[in-house]
Symmetry: C2
DNA sequence: CGATGATATGTCAGTTTCGACATAAGGTCA
DNA sequence: TGACCTTATGTCGAAACTGACATATCATCG
């Protein structure tokens, strides 16, 4: 899944390239930051060979919401992503590094 | 303002030390992460000698909300803090470093 | 081809967060 | 002291987010 597909899935209107560039620098940075956290969440889950359903139980949430977290869905907040990452064992430092790492 | 006072202001029940320790490791990490972002927001504003009212205009928000952001008020999300920081010119990298820097 | 397990998508009611406003509290100057 | 500027706190209706559920899609077996 490429970045643009991810952005669209995340609920951002992305038409032609001109539309794509409509996002301001901060908006782009914010969305990509969110995508990075979502990817990291999936990475942690996959590396542990956990299912979304299992992660949902650990987090006190549902499988569908975990799927949406990993997809950086528009209905998912960064608060939720951060809380989830920390609860799954990620450290503040690791999270910060994921955020600081600019693609 | 010390960390505990900040936590209380942010809406976290903090009684004696035992109560203070009731927060799980992830909860503590999350709250401190939020406080770090709030402090960073204030730092940026003060360094530029901006008033909260001015920052509010730039962000398209209100002075009271900016005050609450800097206080890491419970009604302020990390999404809002991140969007605000980016809009004020902070880079993803800088934000990540603030988050990664563990007190 | 099913059947089974995993992941994705759509929706909803309850909760949280939002900007805005009013107003209180501090600080500084004359 | 009081006028003025800045920051803090409380509240509200509107908007966004949440967990949950149903259901769809996808992959991997036999």
């Amino acid at each position: 899944m490429n970045k643009r597909t991810q952005l669209e899935a995340a609920g951002w209107r992305v038409g032609d390239n001109a539309d794509f560039l409509e996002l301001s620098a901060e908006e782009t940075a914010f969305v990509e930051l969110k995508l990075a956290l979502a990817d990291y969440l999936r990475e942690i889950r996959v590396q542990h060979a956990w299912t979304q359903a299992y992660v949902a139980r650990v987090l006190g949430s549902s499988q569908s919401r975990v799927a949406k977290m990993e997809a950086a869905d528009a209905s998912v907040s960064i608060d939720l992503l951060l809380k989830s990452l920390l609860k799954l064992g990620a450290s503040r430092k690791q999270v910060g590094q994921v955020i600081a790492r600019v693609a």
